[in-house]
């Protein structure tokens, strides 16, 4: 396995692609999100699995995103996502509101190659009322009564992007227990994974590493991006940089402040050299 570069990886994500990414507590690739901003990606459709955070807010603010499907967008303790909120208010972003288990279920249907899967709940929620692609049918196995239940269509993202701890010589990647990333990789057409490092050997030969590994079958490209999840935490490797996110939340309150932040943290030579 030969790693690609971060910028080449970003260049391989076409404008308009449906891009699935995990939230801040589950290994997003902030490095790749910044590279997508630098390449000037446009009209991306983001899927938050099952919610979205810092990376999504930055991509929305930079004008890369036409639509987001997610159960929430939040900066956690730093508060509401400022560029997302501004875009919703301005009406410049299509939002397909979801609920967490529905995102997982639609991806699991894609994993299995079946056209839909049912999910309990949702009936009586305005989320359902605004999703013409979700259908309610009587449970065909009900013993009595109609027992209405919601059907969700399979959802196959064009691209999955996330950050893992390491890749091996075979192109397997290891990220421990954050298995929602495996679900995204299984369900998506391509999986682009940034890692802290590449190591010799094969994780699948090691009983202790194998359960936290995503098989290279599902991994399209690997790029090395040291501290590629920062400012969010990476398992037991490094912690969440609350001060960095709080600074972002403050600056991104205004369009001008966000532009200044982007220039400093994404476009400057210093920022590019750090990735």
């Amino acid at each position: 396995m030969t790693p690609t570069t971060l910028e080449a990886m970003a260049a391989s994500v076409p404008d308009g692609a449906l891009v699935a990414m995990p939230p801040d507590n589950s290994l997003p690739s902030i490095a790749l999100a910044k590279a997508l901003v630098r390449r000037g990606a446009r009209n991306l459709r983001l899927l938050g699995v099952p919610v979205a955070g810092f990376a999504a807010d930055m991509l929305i603010g930079a004008g890369c995103v036409a639509e987001i499907e997610t159960s929430a967008v939040s900066l956690g303790e730093a508060g509401f996502a400022p560029r997302f909120s501004a875009a919703v208010k301005a009406g410049t972003l299509r939002v397909r509101d979801c609920t967490c288990p529905a995102v997982h279920t639609m991806l699991q249907a894609a994993e299995k190659g079946v056209p839909f899967m049912p999910l309990r709940g949702l009936i009586g929620s305005d989320i359902l009322a605004h999703r013409p692609d979700w259908k309610v049918i009587p449970n065909p196995y009900a013993e009595a009564g109609e027992d209405p239940i919601v059907l969700l269509p399979a959802l196959q993202p064009d691209v999955a992007i996330f950050h893992a701890v390491m890749a091996d010589a075979e192109g397997n990647v290891w990220l421990g227990r954050r298995r929602e990333c495996a679900t995204i990789a299984h369900a998506s057409g391509r999986a682009l994974v940034t890692v802290e490092r590449v190591v010799p050997g094969n994780f699948l030969e090691d009983e202790r590493l194998a359960p936290g590994t995503i098989n290279a079958t599902y991994v399209t490209e690997v790029a090395i991006a040291e501290r590629g999840a920062q400012p969010v935490a990476l398992l037991d490797e490094y912690g969440f940089d609350a001060a960095y996110v709080a600074d972002y939340a403050r600056m991104a309150k205004t369009e001008a402040g966000f532009a200044e932040w982007l220039a400093r943290e994404v476009f400057s030579d210093r920022a590019a050299a750090a990735e």
Partner: protein
């Protein structure tokens, strides 16, 4: 006991609701990221010696789920989560929750972060305790602008549980799913039925006698400030610093 912080009183009130003998037993409770007070209440129940399993969804070390966050919803779908906590940007008199935003869908006036798992968890957990510290007419409204998760469903729609209660910074309400209405359960110190009525946008039932929300016992306070805070430091550092004046080791 004037040195009791409001957060400590609320944690103790939540713990009493968790242990309410009139409800299904809380053997397994799940707590989300934005819920430090419910988490404190759950830890208090544990430290009081009750054998409850706590799944803290955002715990970085020792996270309970090894198959990803879908495990929470799969467990809840099976009926293996006894109790969950939810809040809302708006909560109405029928216990409908709005986590999406105000104004036209999807929150063109004020957009909130989003519905998270509420549209599923509220229906499929055995019971839900609603918690929202701000108790004002803008939060507790007659009718939510948008329904993230419904308080009740018509007969014939599968639903495992409902809201048990709503705890705010001013009082505790009990919820009655059979008539889709709240009743006043207890008042925090300094509140009256009239002050609650003035701060609440929905109508609710008022029993003849409304007691005061009890103070935490000395044992509860000692547990909250000591072992409960110890458990919470990693996941909720800002909360522990603010309420218990404790900082995580660097």
């Amino acid at each position: 006991m004037s040195d009791v912080k409001l957060e400590e009183r609320l944690a103790a009130a939540l713990a009493r609701l968790i242990l309410d003998p009139g409800t299904p037993p809380a053997r397994h409770i799940a707590v989300g990221a934005a819920s430090p007070l419910p988490a404190a209440a759950c830890w208090l129940v544990r430290k009081l010696g009750h054998p409850v399993r706590l799944s803290l969804l955002h715990k970085r070390s020792g996270n309970p789920f090894t198959e990803g966050t879908r495990e929470l919803f799969d467990l809840t779908g099976q009926g293996r989560i006894d109790l969950f906590f939810l809040g809302g940007g708006q909560i109405d008199g029928q216990a409908n929750l709005n986590l999406v935003g105000t104004g036209e869908w999807p929150g063109r006036d004020v957009r909130f972060p989003g519905s998270f798992g509420s549209a599923f968890m509220y229906v499929m957990a055995h019971r839900t305790i609603l918690f929202r510290e701000e108790h004002s007419p803008r939060v507790l409204v007659e009718k939510v602008d948008n329904v993230s998760a419904p308080g009740v469903n018509p007969p014939g729609v599968f639903r495992r549980g409902h809201a048990q209660a709503l705890v705010t910074g001013r009082c505790v309400f009990h919820f009655h799913p059979d008539r889709a209405r709240f009743s006043l359960l207890s008042l925090h110190p300094g509140e009256t039925v009239e002050s609650i009525r003035a701060a609440t946008g929905f109508e609710f039932d008022i029993p003849a006698e409304v007691p005061q929300t009890p103070d935490p016992t000395p044992e509860e306070l000692a547990l909250l400030r000591g072992p409960v805070c110890d458990e919470m430091l990693e996941t909720y550092p800002e909360f522990c610093a603010r309420v218990f004046n404790r900082k995580a080791a660097a």
